[in-house]
């Protein structure tokens, strides 16, 4: 036992079928400490926190809060003991107000009235004390993602949480919002709260934590005081080997393949895309950077054949493709990697082979019957060529990890050697190992002469892969600039919608 620890996990083990998600995990949290739980996707971070909070029951091991064991599998007991959890995907009702969302669940079911004034006073006091400004009367549906997260944190504090767990808190935030969040968390720790945050982003862990626990394959592989380690060491501990993202090599760029001119799409009263103009040349990657929600999604939909522009043209080798269907796009040799691989990329309950050929079923059919053997052979080829792990052609696609699912989607697009590839947030939510693999594939496609449009919110990725960059802001695109010419300040301004044209390329 550890003196002064507010929270201890001892020997936690959890299995899902054959998979050991947590293997004898032991860790402790001191009062007033910010502890980072670092690990790749699938390392068992979220499972561990769900056990701590009582969403899952551990197969073995014990959770103690301030020395007292917590009954397993009971979220209410965890709340009563002062543990609060902020999930990666928020659990708020969009049609209710901030106040109602915070109070829900802590009021007795049998009381007729609700002490609104008392609740509001307490929320206001908390939001002043911890620097979490939010209007209790606002409707959740009207709030930004950052504000919603504040409501989630307030919800935990309202229930008198002394231990706060945040699951990938920055996954949905832009960088300034993320920095603001960590400042708030620091202040809370100084105020006596103890905090655990889950992350796979090294710079966050280095910048915001006191101590780091690294999880790999369900086990604790290392524990470091943040001041005594560095990002390189943590990366190696997390992945288990040294990983480096591949570098872009200089080479000759060809003629324009895809050219968009004056592309406009209106949506919900505003302009999702406003007179957008870009061209992607053979053998180059054009990066579109921007804060989420500035028109990237619509640009992806239009280029995928799912939405029609109101004005403007897109040509592909001189042919107008602004009104094609997804099937026509596939037929023309346009590869498309969707923004959300679970919602749009694959049908999770179908087998890997079915997803591998879903876009070109008719190429794998004779007289309307699917040639299953040919399709399975094709899928096996993709699995081998793109190093898709943990799967055979008959595996249910849902069981693949995010990285392997993305390799499957990339593979089915790249197998045919596309002339143009749309890669929309290709590495969102992936771990370092998988990111390196995806980058490698994109760069190989570029070397083979594909024109690639990369839409990304990850600036390191966009700058590292792209030959030229354009920023998107409120549906408008900046003039392109060469990747060599950017610096962090200029890119930041461009993403805020401030750009000049002096060195457009």
């Amino acid at each position: 036992m550890n003196a002064g620890a507010v929270l201890e996990l001892e020997g936690i083990t959890k299995r899902f079928g054959a998979l050991v998600a947590n293997d004898d995990v032991t860790l402790s949290l001191q009062k007033g400490e910010v502890l980072a739980l670092l690990g790749e996707n699938g390392a068992g971070k979220t499972t561990l926190m769900n056990i701590l909070f009582g969403h899952y029951a551990a197969d073995a091991g014990e959770v103690r809060v301030e020395g007292k064991p917590l009954p397993s599998g009971k979220p209410r007991a965890a709340i009563a003991a002062g543990v609060g959890m902020v999930h990666q995907h928020f659990t708020l009702a969009g049609n209710l107000t901030v106040l109602e969302n915070i109070v829900i669940g802590s009021e007795s079911l049998w009381k007729l009235g609700m002490d609104r004034e008392g609740a509001e006073r307490k929320i206001r006091a908390l939001s002043v004390q911890f620097g979490l400004p939010v209007d209790p009367a606002a409707r959740i549906g009207d709030l930004s993602v950052g504000e919603r997260q504040r409501v989630e944190i307030l919800k935990a504090l309202y229930r008198d949480a002394r231990i706060l767990i945040l699951d990938e808190p920055t996954a949905v935030l832009a960088r300034p919002e993320a920095e603001q969040l960590f400042t708030i968390l620091r202040g809370m720790a100084q105020g006596g709260l103890s905090i655990i945050f889950i992350s796979h982003k090294l710079h966050e862990v280095m910048g915001a934590s006191d101590r780091v626990v690294v999880l790999r394959g369900g086990k604790v592989v290392a524990e470091r005081a943040t001041g005594q380690t560095n990002a390189a060491e943590l990366a190696e501990l997390m992945v288990g080997r040294a990983v480096a993202r591949p570098k872009r090599a200089a080479h000759e760029v060809g003629a324009p393949v895809v050219v968009a001119e004056g592309l406009s799409v209106s949506s919900g009263g505003g302009m999702a895309l406003d007179r957008v103009r870009f061209e992607v040349r053979a053998g180059e990657i054009l990066g579109i950077v921007g804060v989420s929600g500035n028109g990237q999604a619509m640009l992806g939909r239009v280029l995928s054949g799912l939405a029609r522009p109101d004005a403007g043209t897109i040509t592909f080798d001189g042919r107008d493709i602004s009104r094609i269907t997804p099937r026509e796009a596939v037929g023309l040799g346009i590869g498309r990697v969707p923004e959300d691989r679970h919602a749009e990329g694959v049908v999770g309950d179908l087998a890997v082979w079915e997803n591998a050929v879903l876009e070109r079923l008719r190429d794998f059919a004779r007289w309307g019957f699917v040639r299953r053997r040919a399709a399975e052979a094709h899928a096996a080829g993709l699995i081998a060529r793109f190093d898709i792990r943990g799967a055979g052609p008959a595996t249910r696609t849902r069981l693949l990890s995010g990285g392997n699912m993305q390799k499957l989607i990339l593979g089915r697009n790249l197998a045919a050697g596309p002339r143009f590839l749309l890669a929309n947030q290709p590495t969102r939510g992936l771990d370092e190992g998988a990111i390196a693999a995806v980058h490698q594939e994109l760069l190989m496609a570029r070397a083979e002469g594909a024109a690639i449009l990369l839409i990304s919110e990850d600036l390191d990725e966009a700058v590292g892969l792209s030959d030229r960059l354009q920023a998107i802001s409120k549906g408008r695109l900046s003039e392109p600039i060469a990747a060599e010419a950017v610096d962090a300040r200029r890119l930041g301004l461009m993403m805020a919608g401030v750009w000049e044209t002096r060195d457009a390329v």
Binding site: Y56, A57, T325, R336, V347, L350, E354, G368, R396
Partner: protein, 349 residues
């Protein structure tokens, strides 16, 4: 206690689920039978005897099963694509009306196979059109098809009443509200002499095999499954969602319509407002008990037919009201929903 999703749903679980559900329903209903003052053993034995105890009983049970196979299949193909067709009953009646109207006089003199093909096609078309309208309303305007298909059943039943009292009324039926009969030469031949069992059941099983083949092997089947499981991903991959669902609606409505046509051409010969003892609704139970699998539909139809035919005999022998059949059906459906939950989720403590 909480639920965790299973990584894989095993085939044996999918076979055990309906058996468990049926068993649970029989056990629960045994309590009700006991409350009626009859030993459940006696009652269930009478039920089995009533369904399979004699040549007549067996033929009656399979006569009852044949339309159920088709209405069950209609529900299964629609549900698989997440098109909630609750209107099998109405589609059944439309198919029946079409067959009676054309079979009475229009097709007389046609070569027999051609006439039968035309009658089947007419029944299917009538059922298909009835489902097409709700399907298009859903695809175009987002109107909930559960509501529209369900309510159309009542409208169709009133329409049938209008027809059998009016345009299609049989003048030779001493004023009874029934439609003109199908010409004797166009009736489907009996399978077993001196019984009501006719070739319809063979036809139904053939249709099941064809649908199974289409669903599991063809491009259309694969696209339907993708569209049902994840419409957004299917659309992204180029599956035309609207066209696929329209085809599914035509198939589903067509199958229920075919059931109605065969019932008229086979054992009954004319249409009344009581032609169907709830074949459309029972088809939903059949589809669920079959876990939406075409082959399962055949087994589930035989079970449902056994309960209904057996319950009548049991009721005569023991005095337990034959409504117990409806109770068994309803409980089996609920038990099946619970059982399906356990095939996809496991309980953890």
């Amino acid at each position: 206690m909480r639920f965790e999703r299973r990584e894989e749903v095993s085939v044996s679980a999918l076979i055990l689920a309906p058996l468990g559900a049926v068993l649970a329903a029989l056990v629960l209903c045994a309590g009700l039978i006991a409350m009626a003052g009859v030993s459940p053993w006696t009652a269930y034995a009478e039920m089995l005897r009533g369904a399979f105890g004699s040549r007549l009983a067996v033929t009656e049970t399979f006569t009852r099963a044949s339309p159920l196979i088709l209405t069950g299949l209609a529900a299964a193909v629609a549900f698989r694509a997440r098109l909630w067709n609750i209107g099998g009953e109405g589609q059944f009646y439309m198919g029946a009306l079409a067959a009676a109207a054309l079979g009475h006089s229009v097709l007389i003199g046609w070569p027999l196979p051609l006439a039968w093909a035309a009658l089947a096609a007419a029944g299917m078309a009538a059922g298909a059109v009835l489902l097409l309208v709700p399907a298009l309303l859903r695809l175009r305007f987002g109107v909930d098809e559960v509501v529209t298909t369900l309510l159309l059943n009542f409208i169709v039943l009133l329409f049938v009443g209008l027809m059998v009292e009016g345009v299609l009324k049989d003048p030779m039926a001493f004023g009874w509200p029934q439609s003109v009969p199908v010409a004797a030469g166009l009736r489907l031949p009996d399978l077993v002499p001196r019984s009501r069992l006719h070739v319809g059941i063979v036809l139904a099983v053939v249709v099941v095999l064809v649908v199974w083949l289409v669903q599991s092997r063809t491009v259309f089947g694969a696209e339907t499954r993708a569209a049902g499981l994840n419409p957004r991903a299917a659309a992204f991959a180029g599956v035309p969602i609207t066209a696929t669902l329209v085809k599914v609606a035509l198939l589903s409505g067509g199958l229920a319509g075919l059931a109605g046509a065969i019932e008229v051409l086979g054992p009954v010969g004319y249409v009344t407002t009581t032609l169907s003892p709830g074949f459309g609704y029972a088809g939903i139970v059949v589809a669920m008990l079959a876990a939406l699998h075409p082959l399962g539909v055949v087994a589930a139809s035989v079970f449902v037919a056994t309960v209904f035919v057996g319950a009548d005999a049991m009721s005569r022998a023991t005095g337990v009201p034959s409504f117990i059949a409806d109770v068994i059906m309803a409980v089996a459906l609920l038990a099946m929903l619970v059982a399906l939950l356990f095939t996809t989720y496991r309980v953890r403590r």
